[in-house]
Symmetry: C2
Subunit: 224 residues, 2 copies
């Protein structure tokens, strides 16, 4: 759903194409059904039936029911790793990746008439569905690992040292901030302002992290 349909170069057999189509069909219809009736009220067997496919096939494509909604959790990692390698700092890398994801979402929002409403429902679905939130956290956990490793490698320390860990955790928190901002603003603001509003939120959070939690202490986050 959020996927931006990364067009693959033409050199692709019929087999591969069918697989991609099936995969897409599965996520799309599953998401649609979940949005309509709620995650729990839809059985995997129903999704399979709706797609004219056996239940086992669904599980050949997706490891869990949740992964039907959060298509390609590894995409973020695949983008993040090179960014970490090339950027001047982890913070820059994360902000770059986040900006990229934001752009992708924004262009998807602009590409369909009812996109805004669908995205709002999508965000609400995730928020209201514990297993989906758990899945989101799991993905975040993987990002933490990747970032911590990158920092540790650069600094030449073990990746389970306190510094890489805490920095990675804090930085991954920015994903949550961006998602929350997106969910909040997508409904109220005109599309033109959306990107700026979300970016502003992320930047405020990032500045707070970089400058230190004491930075904006008009109302006592750190000890006075």
């Amino acid at each position: 759903m959020i996927t931006v349909d990364w067009t693959d170069p033409g050199g692709e057999g019929l087999r591969e194409r069918k697989k991609r189509q099936t995969r897409q069909l599965l996520t799309d219809t599953a998401t649609e059904m979940f949005l309509d009736r709620g995650f729990d009220a839809v059985r995997v067997a129903e999704v399979a039936a709706a797609c004219g496919v056996s239940e086992k096939t669904v599980y050949n494509y997706f490891p869990t029911k949740e992964s039907l909604v959060v298509d390609h959790p590894d995409t973020a990692i695949a983008t993040l790793r090179p960014a970490l390698a090339s950027a001047k700092s982890p913070v820059d890398a994360v902000l770059t990746v986040l900006a990229g994801e934001l752009r992708a979402v924004a262009s998807w929002l602009a590409s369909q008439p009812d996109a805004v409403e669908r995205f709002a429902r999508f965000a609400a679905l995730i928020d209201a569905t514990p297993p989906l939130r758990a899945y989101q956290r799991e993905m975040a956990g993987r990002l933490v690992g990747v970032i911590a490793e990158a920092i540790a490698a650069r600094a030449g320390v073990p990746s389970d040292d306190p510094e890489p860990q805490i920095v990675a955790i804090a930085l991954v928190g920015l994903w949550r901030v961006q998602f929350a901002a997106l969910a909040r603003y997508v409904d109220g603001r005109p599309a033109s302002e959306l990107v700026d509003a979300v970016t502003a939120d992320v930047r405020r959070a990032a500045d707070l992290l970089v400058g230190g939690l004491g930075g904006c202490d008009q109302l006592g986050i750190t000890r006075s």
Copy 2:
């Protein structure tokens, strides 16, 4: 297992006592079995049988299989809330609660001969068991909510504003740091140094958060 057996005042009917005993028996034997054979290899029905109790009874006490191991996830919240209310700052509150938990673990470690080895296996079990890690993250998520609310309330802003969110996420990361430090040091260091070593790690992480990610920038966390 990690629970410190908070002795309840005597005014307690037979009913309550039996419930407490059963609950304790369940977590203890379950943890023991999980440590021996692995989380996945033990069925809930087996735990029930080992305790001379029906499977349904297990589920009357615990919502999930995972909660058999991570007894009382709400204890942290119950401790944290008043700490947040009374401490000078969220950072202080979190550090205080963490120190308290550390003390409790340390005294438990000192109370039994094989405690160290058991704790090491316990930490390894959690690390090696995805569902348990997920459960841990879920608990962390609840802590984030509590802290974000406290900060937001104090500052008079919505709790899903970027600042409360990111601060809460970063602070909750300290739990992970403390757990990691505990797991790392429990095996190698003499008990006397344990608390200091762990505290040092937590403090390093907290200082980094408070002073800003740029603080210790000998090797480029933030942009140069």
